[in-house]
Amino acid sequence: MTIDWASFTPASAAVGGLLVGLGSVMLLLLNGRVAGVSGIVGGLFRPSRAELPWRIAFIAGLVLSPILYAAVTRFPDIVIAASYPTLIAGGLLVGFGTRLGSGCTSGHGICGVSRLSMRSIVAVLCFCLAGFATVFVVRHVLAG
């Protein structure tokens, strides 16, 4: 393993994590909900009048955040190497998988791990190992 020290950005990652944590805690203590993005989006398929406003509002906040950010300061690079067929396949797998597994990097990774849920810790291990394996195959086996 070689650590790419030039790309490693611990300070901005730490500040970003504080903000992600703060957003999660706000949703928890003010709205009484777990900040799991896949559950919040997927829950739109089971609409109820009481549930809809906070779900839509949280999603709107996420979608609007880059617009607000770009209005204030320079927006950092977003580099997407995946082709459209790969994006579609990846999106389908992420959508189906997060719903079947009851969570993603936010719900299991941040919220679940912080409450020491064994279920979430197992899920995080599974999706990280699957992610490591997939990138290994794509970059180091298939690409030669």
Binding site: V34, S38, T98, V138
Partner: protein, 144 residues
């Protein structure tokens, strides 16, 4: 209290942007253990989990949100097939593209056409899950 959910989403999304991990290339660099590894995502998770843990410590001492609303905390403790299979499926999609649900909404808001394609596919994947869930023998599903 949708306005608080909007604020929570904005702060959460800003955290993802600040950390640099709304950028799929940086996520893939974290998942590429055999290449030039960028551990920034671990730092984001670390500070995010610490802040979130404080929130859950407060939530566990309360019966209601700060506004007196219900606190919906996950109750499921079962580590079962769907959890593992779902997390692995999600991990493969995550490894193919480098986008998970939270950053997907940020990339969408940044105006990248790839963000639109990925989010549409992700929502379609969640829709497929709803279909699958209605077809299989019913059982009570809890959150994270």
């Amino acid at each position: 209290m949708a306005v608080w959910a909007l604020a929570a989403g904005l702060i959460f999304g800003t955290g993802l942007i600040v950390s640099g991990l709304a950028n799929p290339a940086k996520v893939l660099a974290f998942l590429d253990l055999a290449g030039r590894w960028d551990p920034s995502l671990l730092v984001l998770m670390g500070t995010g989990v610490v802040v979130s843990a404080v929130g859950y410590a407060i939530a566990n001492r309360r019966r209601a949100t700060f506004f007196g609303g219900p606190l919906s905390l996950p109750t499921s403790r079962e580590i079962d097939g769907p959890l593992v299979l779902g997390a692995v499926t999600f991990g493969v999609g995550w490894g193919l593209v480098g986008i998970c649900p939270g950053p997907a909404l940020v990339v969408l808001g940044s105006g990248r056409p790839q963000g639109i394609a990925f989010v549409l596919a992700m929502v379609a994947g969640m829709g497929l899950y709803e279909l699958y869930d209605r077809l299989r023998p019913h059982r009570e599903l809890a959150g994270v």
